[in-house]
């Protein structure tokens, strides 16, 4: 009772904020503009009534401006390695690349949505979400590195050829994301619709034990449960379980996670490709490689934060719904599972199709 009274206003506030987000992100009001030439022109532009700029909009604007600024400074930082004191120039490059990674990943892309949806769906722990984010970022960096090394250094390919290959990898990546999403969804639905006869008791016990033993090595712990579960339920070997059941923690969940990291990561980070090609042009390949990994670290941190908050919200929701074992907690878990898996599938499919569309001119 007390918890509910404490929590309700908070939950409502968040819900209101989320609902208000589209309104906050409305087109910008006419700002005082520094480039106007004549008073006549000022008058001639019809303008909608001014609205105060939303918080999200200003944050987004700030992100975009910072990115543009860092993008410009990054080029200078690579060049300075040749002229200025190498150590300080290299540190500067590392810092800028890292910042670029952090900010850049805060914008759309980089598998952030996909990974967040995944951890929501597959009942993942925060640790798993973070690991996944880092793995995907690492694969993305390596993918960019291999692409540039092979095409530029071995084949002296043109920029157009590099971009064509990048586009191909992007399509492949989204296709793979959709496939993993479908796999996840199938798994969730199988769990949801399979008969759960006489299952509930054991299942709840498990969820409870798991909750408490969380600090231990997750994988071993899960294995342990797995066995225990089967020991108790021998007659039910073939039964599917609800998503929060022990089965979920089996090796297949790792396979799904790795498949997803690969699916997301196979698409090289465009920012990394650009820095690498630029660095090669300056005769500083190593600076490009260095910058690529610093960028990946920054990206991984942002994506981790989002994946972790998705897990946090799921756990909060489950706790509000009565904690591990309650019927409502299961429903929250199930909704998160099916919803998250559907999102992975939808995002993968939508961007797969859009990546097949008209090639972009630049």
């Amino acid at each position: 009772m007390t918890m509910a009274t404490l929590v309700r206003p908070f939950a409502l506030l968040i819900a209101l904020l989320l609902l208000a987000a589209p309104a906050l992100a409305q087109p910008p009001p006419p700002a005082k503009n520094p480039f106007a030439v004549g008073p006549a022109a000022e008058k001639s532009v019809a303008r909608p009534a001014a609205e105060p700029p939303g918080v999200l909009q200003r944050a987004g604007q700030w992100l975009l401006e910072k990115q543009a600024q860092i993008n410009r400074e990054l080029a200078g930082a690579v060049r300075r390695i040749k002229t200025a004191e190498p150590l300080s120039a290299t540190l500067m490059l590392a810092a800028l690349s890292f910042a670029y990674g952090v900010l850049h990943a805060a914008g759309p892309g980089h598998g952030k949505a996909v990974i967040s949806s995944y951890v929501l769906a597959d009942g993942r722990t925060m640790r798993r979400g973070i690991l996944l984010a880092f793995l995907a970022a690492l694969i993305q960096a390596l993918s960019a590195l291999v692409l540039v090394a092979v095409l530029v250094l071995l084949f002296s390919a043109t920029g157009l050829q590099i971009r064509a290959m990048e586009a191909w990898l992007e399509t492949a990546s989204w296709g793979l994301v959709a496939v993993v999403g479908a796999w996840l969804l199938y798994y969730q639905l199988r769990g949801a619709f399979a008969p759960a006869r006489g299952h509930d008791h054991a299942h709840h016990e498990h969820a409870h034990a798991h909750h408490h033993d969380h600090g231990a090595d997750a994988r071993e712990q899960h294995h342990h449960h797995h066995h225990g579960h089967h020991g108790a339920q021998d007659a039910c070997e073939a039964c599917a379980h609800l998503p929060s059941a022990a089965q979920l923690q089996g090796d297949w969940s790792w396979r799904r996670a790795l498949a997803l990291a690969f699916a997301v990561g196979v698409r090289p980070c465009t920012g990394a490709i650009l820095v690498l090609v630029f660095a090669i042009g300056q005769g500083l390949l190593w600076a490009g490689v260095f910058s690529t990994f610093a960028m990946a670290l920054g990206t991984a941190i942002t994506v981790s934060a989002l994946a972790a908050s998705a897990v946090g919200f799921r756990e909060l929701a489950a706790r509000l719904a009565g904690g591990g074992g309650s019927k409502w907690a299961d429903r929250v878990q199930l909704a998160a599972g099916i919803g998250g898996a559907s999102l992975v599938l939808l995002l993968g499919a939508a961007f797969f199709v859009s990546s097949l569309g008209t090639a972009r001119p630049f």
Binding site: P22, P27, P30, A40, V45, F278, A321, G322, R360
Partner: protein
């Protein structure tokens, strides 16, 4: 005992958080500084002459492998093929140029006189973009915007004199640069609309509206 409605709310919340964090794949990887000259002929505006300068990273990428005679320079001939590819590609995106007359969309003709130049690590694309039909100078409310609805490309107007009137334009004509969002076409694909949702129409994404007015104050 926790209120069931609260439970439903919290389930919905978890979904909403992911929904809000969701979109999308578009974010700028190419920065372009726009300089435009407004062209006129016989008392009417007939089109725009763009000079788009790319950022250093995109430039490095674009010219990679194109120095065919290995003299360390990228001259017009070496970049001619790329210029053609760019212009052909731009057709599918309405040249990212959205002119309007009194808030009515204005059609564009085919781009002509295009070439790429490269100097000091910056590549620029030059091309002429005619209006499908000339616009009388007396007409009110001529304006245009340069932006990418999908926001893969960040267009920004040059810091000084981004838009000029071609020589011989009557002195009563003035250029105004202001911010006005969402004048262009609607987002074409789901991905576009996802990224638009994410960006929510930031001024940087939409670019500034440029207006041309010859009717005096």
């Amino acid at each position: 005992m926790v209120n069931p409605r609260l439970r439903l709310l919290s389930a919905a919340l978890a979904m909403l958080v992911v929904g809000a964090a969701a979109p999308a794949s578009a974010h700028p990887h190419v920065w372009i500084v726009v300089e435009t000259t407004v062209l006129h002929e016989k008392g009417a505006f007939v089109g725009l002459r763009h000079k788009w300068s790319f950022d250093e990273f995109y430039t490095a990428m674009a010219i990679e492998g194109l120095d065919k005679n290995k003299d360390g320079k990228y001259d017009r001939e070496e970049l001619a093929e790329l210029a053609k590819v760019n212009i052909d590609g731009l057709k599918d995106f309405a040249f990212f140029t959205f002119p309007s007359l009194a808030n009515q969309e204005l059609k564009l003709g085919q781009a002509s006189d295009y070439w790429l130049e490269h100097a000091d690590g910056v590549m620029s694309l030059n091309f002429t973009l005619p209006f499908a039909s000339p616009v009388l100078m007396e007409a009110k409310g001529l304006s245009f915007q340069v932006y990418d609805p999908g926001y893969f490309i960040a267009f920004e107007l040059a810091k000084t004199d981004p838009v000029k009137l071609a020589p011989g334009t009557p002195p009563s004509c003035r250029i105004g640069v202001g911010e006005r969002a969402g004048q262009g076409r609607a987002p074409s694909a789901l991905a576009d609309s996802l990224s638009q949702q994410q960006l929510g129409g930031f001024a940087v994404g939409y670019g500034k509206a440029v207006s041309i007015d010859c009717n005096g104050p």
